[in-house]
Symmetry: C2
Subunit: 320 residues, 2 copies
Amino acid sequence: MPEHKRLALGIDLGGTAIKVGVVTHKGEIIGRGERATEVQKGAQGVIANMAAAARDAMDAAGVTVADLEGAGVGAPGICDAARGIVVRAVNLDWDNVEVAEALGKALGLPAYLDNDANCAALGEQWCGAASGSHHALMITLGTGVGGGLVLDGKIYHGFRGWSGEFGHMPAVDNGPACNCGRRGCVETVASATAMANFARREIEAGRAPYMAAKAAEQGGKVDARLVIYAAREGDAAAVGVLREVGEHLGLAMAGLVGALNPELIVVGGGGSHAGDFVLEPMRKVIREKAMPGPADVVQVVPAELGNDAGLIGAASLVWR
Amino acid sequence: MPEHKRLALGIDLGGTAIKVGVVTHKGEIIGRGERATEVQKGAQGVIANMAAAARDAMDAAGVTVADLEGAGVGAPGICDAARGIVVRAVNLDWDNVEVAEALGKALGLPAYLDNDANCAALGEQWCGAASGSHHALMITLGTGVGGGLVLDGKIYHGFRGWSGEFGHMPAVDNGPACNCGRRGCVETVASATAMANFARREIEAGRAPYMAAKAAEQGGKVDARLVIYAAREGDAAAVGVLREVGEHLGLAMAGLVGALNPELIVVGGGGSHAGDFVLEPMRKVIREKAMPGPADVVQVVPAELGNDAGLIGAASLVWR
């Protein structure tokens, strides 16, 4: 079969929606499907929804199962990639669900699975910001902070498949309370949530009148989007909040730069829309605090695939 | 040839001495040789000394070159393992020395090379404290702090071969000055040197009369050995110094535990003779500060092979 005709399904399984793409061997999406996850239907119901969304995507692309080489799933939580199992996913309320096997049967295709953050890293490495790099760390700034490691060209899963928890590395002694039950984890000071929290702190202290006014326009709501908008408009308080987040991120990654000597750090997720407002202070702290040598060669770059990174990376599981 | 007869040379190239062992396929040393490094003789002179020490080891083991399958070298500094080159070694004053090729010619054997810390990690993974583990971090507490990573069963070298620099991860904001030119690196607060420095601080503050008396007995010299001795004798100040070092180590490794999900952290080097005086506070901080899950499964253990780890690991390069 000619290279351009090789196709796979990439499936991004989220807590609220299932997004599917028919993906070419070059990483292009030629058809999409989307269904609600419907967690309340249980694992078999969710897997049926995944299969339905997959059929929608095939219809949109004008292909059938016979045209596809397999399906890859990016799933939330702790996964056993080798066995295709979701070991524990809090937001799906799943324990030990054999997703790959059940989905493979439903679709009549070989199916594979990995953690969603790992799939995003794979996607960026395959045809995004880390294209061609064999040594890349992917960090996503969302409600929390997720991560994935591409080491020697492959996802590094660690001893139990729990690697990449950049969001829960210790960052600030006695820092803000974290969802994990501890204090001062990276994601308490360096996520999209942290951007909003720091902005709220500045507004409450009366140091951020521009953001206060903008927040009032949207019913008092302060989120990362507002902070990034204000920074682009030149608001110094917003720029300062994003600098603070970038410096925390830089310090957290500085240790990993010396320990792992990565070529690239790819920053994705909603918070990465802050661009150089976060990346420049991050780079500065890495240059100052990380081991000279590794600090000189590492590049900090924004992700390129946006919300499709996980879906595209999931499809690539079929060819790995 | 029967398994037990398979032999290789393991060579530990240090700044002052070259130590060689004839190593069996089971990791036993059956003959040793040692020569001064003689850095002043230049790279070719040092390589000739390596070959001479290797012949001493063969004589001691009663074997000839015909009995050996190859030679492995653990070298200080930055190495290009794939090409067998020492890229930069400050304490040898070497730049781009093709050690493996030159030594291989001198001995008439295939020769391999890796960084000394990586070789120590390989040795411990092959037949020491990390035996059989595919996910182990090795950290050595000496004058500085070195490290090596065994990920998915292999040494992880990173983008340029500079991985494992655990000693230069940032630990303390505006901490003690480090040899690397920055401040507060892990090795300024968590090496054998740091043990001595913290003890000196306690003695000077009048809080460590027992260590002060012991130091006076040896002409005022305060070193890690003295601190460890005093701790074993029950001196609270010495125990406190080792706790402080262990807590700094634990915090530094807590981030790596979440990022990499290792099975084992193996602590070696002279400072590791402090045993549980350092390892227990280290374990405690990891449990408190690292991501639950990874923090629950990681084990922190002392190295087992002592000064032979690098030599044994170097020999194992021949069979990898």
